[in-house]
Symmetry: C2
Subunit: 216 residues, 2 copies
């Protein structure tokens, strides 16, 4: 991400044959296939077929498999960074900040599902993956800080270790990528009936108040 020159919004060919596919469109298609088959198990032939192109034509539009992964996970990381940028502009009590970040992060995850899914599945096998994982760790760290602040302010329970709580909370949020499919009929056959806002509400409620029936 040192040079961000390649990804304007819609790179349109100014001469020659009109471009049928923008870079972003292709990344969207690619991410979807990665999401279904897994990155390693997806071949360039798979990606080309899903884009309606031959392998060689596909290579005319993209620079390679690893760069495609890079573009996709960068989309997720940019969106997640955005959550904390919004948050920095607001002033609120620690627990309310935590709740809002929890809510917004969940919303971003649902909105950018394929990209976030790819990000969460990285194993750090290549340099591209390791760079992305480093950016992801910085997101985690900012979240852990929010938990710490809320705890220092006495607004959340203090009998559980903050780092552990942070991991469990965002583990719950991130687990959405395992079954949520934006379309009503999931391709993996899982399927669900939850609307986005219902999911976001359940996440925040469960995280803060737990599952027990309230006394009163």
């Amino acid at each position: 991400m040192s040079k961000g020159a390649e990804a304007g919004a819609g790179v349109v060919a100014r001469r020659g044959r009109p471009a049928r596919y923008s870079q972003d469109d292709l990344v969207a298609v690619v991410a979807q296939v990665f999401l279904e088959r897994g990155y390693d198990a997806t071949s360039m032939a798979d990606l080309a077929r899903a884009s309606g192109l031959t392998k060689s034509t596909f290579y005319h539009h993209v620079s390679g498999k690893e760069q495609l992964l890079r573009l996709a996970v960068s989309r997720a990381l940019d969106a997640l960074d955005g959550v904390f940028e919004e948050e920095a502009r607001l002033d609120d009590s620690p627990v309310h900040r935590l709740e809002r970040v929890l809510r917004r992060t969940t919303e971003v995850l649902l909105a950018e599902l394929p990209y976030v899914t790819l990000l969460l599945r990285l194993r750090g096998n290549t340099e591209v993956e390791r760079e992305a994982l480093e950016r992801r760790r910085s997101v985690d760290a900012r979240l852990a800080q929010l938990v710490q602040d809320a705890r220092a302010a006495g607004q959340i329970r203090s009998d559980l270790e903050p780092r552990l709580v942070t991991r469990l909370l965002f583990g719950m949020v991130n687990s959405l990528v395992e079954w949520y499919r934006p379309d009503g009929s999931g391709a993996s056959g899982v399927g669900h009936g939850s609307r986005d806002d219902e999911i976001v509400h359940a996440v925040v409620e469960l995280a803060l108040d737990g599952l027990h029936a309230r006394r009163g």
Copy 2:
């Protein structure tokens, strides 16, 4: 693979050179490598090297990459099935059953980490994977039933959809595989300071009572 005659429990050589590696030992090594590099990204050469064997010798002891995955995820599924078998022998109120299954499932996950991790990462690309996913779905279904029962008994809150709650709860538990490493210094550089019982306690507490500071 049409003939599955080769795999008894502990096939011990009755003659000739003593076997230095049992099937289970090899599966343990293999699962660890799968866990670190990811199944697809792991080559048979990687597995042989981790076992201290050449590729061809390694093939003398195992039947192939896919069968290794099968053995590994079966270990996880057997352990998870065991949790529900124990549970069936006990009689208790629904919410206590749910709490104990939550606790035992977390314990099993920590104890059988590499195997459960592999199970959770399956994408269903091959027949072996699809069979394992089907067994996994039956585990999920039994868990969902427990949530339903506790809700019907009025012991957990009824304002959240049971299927959604089930998924979020076990999403939180399953997310442990993303960072937990049994050894103090994780190979992925994550590292943590939590003991197993502390983690189990936090999971159950967070799930049932939530993060909010208790009033009183």
